[in-house]
Symmetry: C2
Subunit: 333 residues, 2 copies
């Protein structure tokens, strides 16, 4: 592998000059620059990124920490982050936190050790305090899917409460008065917010929140199924005509339970989901759901970094609004 030294020899210039042409430094005459470029070409020279990083203290890499890699959720986000960053020749190092505080911290350490110039974090278990503290360190961070007031300008997030409100409001406008809810895990911020939105819509319509009709799932299909089984048992005592689930995966689990027990959806029961995962429109019935522009948020996080870290001139906006996507799983009573 040719080194910068080889290039400098062949071009008949000094190391510094070669370095200058690599780094687009202007103080090089056109003639010299061309000689260097030719030499590089001829030698098939590729700079050694480790040496560059060591000397410049900049790695051109950003660490991305997500809570999971499988599931329909993170793929699009990662895809956007990767492509946005790649365009600028930055690369992404991924780590997974599994929604566990210890693992999340561990992963942060790991990425930091790896010399990332910045971190994009989608973490849920770790405390606000930890993140605030981390943000004071030398490595910039951006948070996806989380709002912390003290570092709000570093937070890219969805108005989950509004989305929760929309979902339930939609059902209420369709005439539903008895609405069950399958929630995400109470330890996750977004799950809490979505539920809060649900309650707001309810109280706005003077409907009392019935905790017997609220089941705490964990965002998985299985828990959606479990929750639905539970709700179906409640139904004799506490009838309901619609259920909103805190994400699409749980809806699909819930619907499959209903279908198995011979119910007809949406005729017997309306459903509204959340996230608008790609499959939502291919599930039958097609899911009415709240759109979560997760890929755009991923992109925005990448742009934020490009702007703040690598000084690109870019507009970023931090907060995203959910949108109701009305399809076929919800009908008027």
């Amino acid at each position: 592998m040719a080194t910068i030294y080889d290039v400098s020899q062949l071009a008949g210039v000094s190391l510094a000059t070669v370095s200058r042409v690599m780094n687009k430094n202007t103080n090089v005459s056109d003639k010299t620059r061309q000689r260097v470029l030719d030499a590089m070409e001829k030698l098939g020279y590729r700079p050694n990124t480790f040496a560059q990083s060591l000397a410049s203290n900049c790695s051109n890499s950003v660490g991305v920490l997500v809570s999971q890699l499988d599931g329909p959720y993170y793929g699009p986000m990662m895809a956007e982050i990767e492509s946005s960053l790649r365009l600028e020749n930055k690369h992404v190092i991924i780590a997974v936190g599994h929604s566990d505080a210890a693992q999340e911290k561990d992963s942060v350490e790991f990425l930091l050790d790896r010399g990332c110039d910045a971190l994009i974090l989608d973490v849920e278990a770790v405390s606000d305090e930890y993140l605030i503290n981390l943000s004071k360190g030398p490595t910039p961070i951006v948070l996806i899917n989380r709002y912390i007031e003290q570092i709000s300008e570093r937070c890219i997030y969805l108005e989950n409460e509004v989305g929760g409100y929309m979902a339930t409001k939609h059902l209420i406008m369709q005439g539903h008065r008895h609405i069950a809810y399958i929630s995400g895990p109470a330890k996750k911020h977004d799950a809490i917010e979505r539920l809060v939105g649900h309650k707001r819509a309810l109280s706005e319509a003077n409907i009392e929140f019935t905790s017997a009709l609220c089941f705490e799932g964990d965002y998985s299909e299985e828990s959606g199924a479990t929750g639905m089984t539970y709700l179906l048992q409640q139904r004799s005592k506490k009838p309901f005509t619609a259920v909103v689930c805190a994400n699409d995966q749980m809806v699909s689990g819930a619907i499959s339970v209903c279908l198995e027990s011979g119910m007809r959806i949406p005729h017997d029961l309306s459903f509204v989901g959340y996230d608008n995962i790609p499959f939502a429109r291919y599930i039958s019935p097609k899911l009415t759901t709240v759109n979560n522009p997760i890929h755009e948020m991923g992109k925005m996080a990448a742009l934020w970094l490009l702007k703040n870290l690598y000084n690109k001139n870019i507009d970023v906006n931090n907060v995203f609004m959910p949108e109701l996507v009305i399809r076929e799983s919800s009908i008027p009573v």
Copy 2:
């Protein structure tokens, strides 16, 4: 940030000794080792990975190139790769090839420039020759989802032909004689193989392959829908009682078209998919499909590297067998 030098000063030893204790080199007395460890602890020392990589010419990173990041397919694979590697303190750098030869090559270059110790490649556009050539280079590669005879020991793949055979065979055993097929893109190896398996099952049962009943999709839900629309038009001339799709996404697109036009599935038409993506069991009807252990293949690729590159003692096997998962979308005629 403390450096190795600071540690050596505090511990009262030389740089070399500190380096030795970091690298678990045994030639250090317990007493000294402890002094060094204490010093590290006290200083909160973290080795600089760039310096390490530069000096040792080993980055402890592996590049993973997938064709896409979104979709239900790659998440589980990435997840397994990441966790397996992470356990050994290796990290993964991801890149996306978008099934395009130029982009794939570009990404390979990119990962190589980044000093990856090895590459895990899931590429489809690039030629066998290119890969064979690449495998002769200094950086080891493993191929997922692709078989190339000359470098077969580096290939982790699924017997796609067998899976294609299984899917159709299953329908034939259910009494179906007229079977339509929605294929993946003809330029992708796995799509071709699956189709070959389909044809083998057909000919084994003395059923002629009807090209009018074969539609080439691109693995997306949309193309499944398009394909189904086409097939439905053919149906008056060329009746069929079942359709097999080369992946689950296309099935779901296809089924949704049928449902929209008022058909009842599986009563009016049986379906078999391929891949067994997580959602397959939550779609209604639950999909009969061919299991594709993509996450295991990801894990195996990681293990292969650990074994061959970092000298871990691990058993790896290269070829995976598909398995038929019979659910509800296919019923006897």
